[in-house]
Symmetry: C2
């Protein structure tokens, strides 16, 4: 009881060799029904728990899937993780998470650490990594999936959306609603490359219409609804005549909406607020915002499926959707 039961113990109790016990427990075909039953019973009897470390070392294969995300508190990544977890569930694969905090140095560390486990698959966020990380990823042998973003060159498999296109589409949507004086709000405490791509696409589409962003309100606080509220207050104070405000995500946009509600500014009549992600809570907001619904859960599912299938060069571009939430 004090010492864990080992395969040898199971084999001894079952009266077979270690190999037969191993095969029986793994469901290998070359075991007689009799031995199989005996082994399973013996294992149950002494409470045997397989040791995946030893198995991995011996077989030179692991059942690990490394998942590297920038943040856990961001619902978007949490939902992607959920997609991954629910897809690999029951496959015998084990997800291992790493968090980079949007920091390239941390990302490199996390990646190195992840790779040291020699995972069967690796799912990393984004296409943009520090050069050293790219080298690591290229050298490594396992199934690689880069998620969330398709704007750039993938090293391995790839699932996501085009943030550049998403930004452009939002610009066109706002323009179509008649907006001409448009503000932009973001947070730069962390360097969010995908938000930057959206901004680029947004700007490009405005320029195609002969327009520029009227004002940009940036802060180096973490992105959150309170930050969105504070920044919107400041932005609208300096530019009371904006037709629309594009936020780098729904949290900021919700904060912006809260500011408007508190000030009695009518949304979207007085000003259109645009976010990104289409988070669930946005659906219940008391006024309507426009946002881009991202299929993050599906991205997680597809990425996990790619790992399961051992794909190597697959690339799936998902199409986000402009939606009007709340009201």
């Amino acid at each position: 009881m004090t010492q864990k039961a080992t395969l040898a113990d199971v084999a001894a109790v079952a009266g077979v060799s270690k190999m037969t016990a191993s095969r029986a427990l793994r469901g290998a075909p070359e075991v007689s029904q009799l031995s199989r039953d005996r082994v399973q019973q013996a294992a149950a009897q002494i409470g045997y728990v397989a040791n995946p470390l030893a198995a991995s070392l011996s077989s030179k294969r692991t059942q690990l899937v490394g998942v590297v995300v920038p943040s856990l508190t961001n619902t978007v990544f949490a939902e992607m993780l959920t997609g991954i977890v629910e897809t690999i569930e029951g496959s015998g694969l084990q997800p291992v998470f790493g968090v980079t905090n949007y920091n390239p140095d941390t990302e490199l560390d996390v990646l190195r650490n992840m790779l040291s486990w020699r995972p069967a698959g690796l799912i990393v966020t984004g296409l943009d990594h520090p050069e050293a990380a790219k080298i690591l990823l290229r050298q490594s042998e396992q199934t690689l999936v880069q998620v969330m973003d398709v704007d750039g060159t993938a090293i391995g498999n790839c699932v996501g959306i085009s943030h550049t296109q998403a930004g452009a589409e939002m610009a066109r949507t706002l323009l179509a609603s008649g907006a001409r004086k448009i503000g932009y709000v973001n947070c730069t405490q962390i360097f969010d490359i995908r938000a930057t791509k959206r901004l680029d696409g947004f700007r490009g589409a405005l320029r195609d219409a002969g327009l520029e962003i009227t004002a940009i309100q940036t802060s180096d606080t973490p992105s959150s609804a309170p930050a969105g509220r504070a920044q919107t207050r400041q932005l609208m104070q300096e530019h009371p005549d904006l037709d629309a405000i594009y936020y780098s995500n729904d949290d900021l946009a919700a904060g912006g909406l809260f500011h408007c509600l508190a000030q009695g500014i009518c949304v979207p009549k007085g000003v259109i607020l645009a976010g990104f992600n289409g988070l669930e809570f946005s659906e219940s907001l008391p006024a309507q915002i426009v946002t881009t619904r991202t299929p993050r859960r599906e991205i997680g599912q597809i990425a996990a499926q790619m790992v399961l299938d051992g794909d190597t060069d697959k690339c799936v571009q998902l199409m986000p959707q402009i939606v009007y939430l709340g009201g």
Copy 2:
């Protein structure tokens, strides 16, 4: 390049034995400065990456910390995870997450799976587990920390808050504000034992004042702001004269607030809304709600520290705080 470099390769290049190489890389004291340098240089030169599987198998120790949470999309757990991650960072420990979806059967599976890795530490959510899980936990040898809840009997270490007390305190707060007709809103799609404890405490304190909950609005949808909005609508339709509504969490409460705002109901003048957790976004809501701020990040930090320190029977009860957010 195709085959990973092993410790033997490092040793060969450095001109020492495997043992010396191993010791040098681990920073063991019984290595001369000369050998140490040579080994480190050799390792860097051939790009050696240590294999934690082999190390763990050989040393019978792992650097793994298993973390079992009910959900990843719930910000509360994500923030606790953040606390854990930031605390064990740099200690050489590796967090491994498991998600139970509030399902006891899943919890047992996840736990079994977690334990099979023989982690150095295990952090699980709550004090209430299926009986089989409790047995597993009691038998296992590693540092165990049960987090979030202190209402009950801990198996190992324990850090959290008393949800019963939190519920009672909220009841007293609402009573002190003059509320007499009080509604309660929750979601039961998942069985949230801690929410139940809060409700018990809440009810108890009301009874102490000779009162009962006026109406309970339950739904079996997942807990979210949209659910909160829908349920509040229904509840207020049937009971338009409520003084206050207690929600099982801030998401629902925010949804409730959105309903009131959309209906032009004044909060908190017309009705007091009470949530739980004190999420960051609640701070920016355009009207004031009352909630219980929970120290979930700190809980994660303390739990991780307990694992690092190898504590066995420590129990830390943190004190939540009633706060007024938004407005």
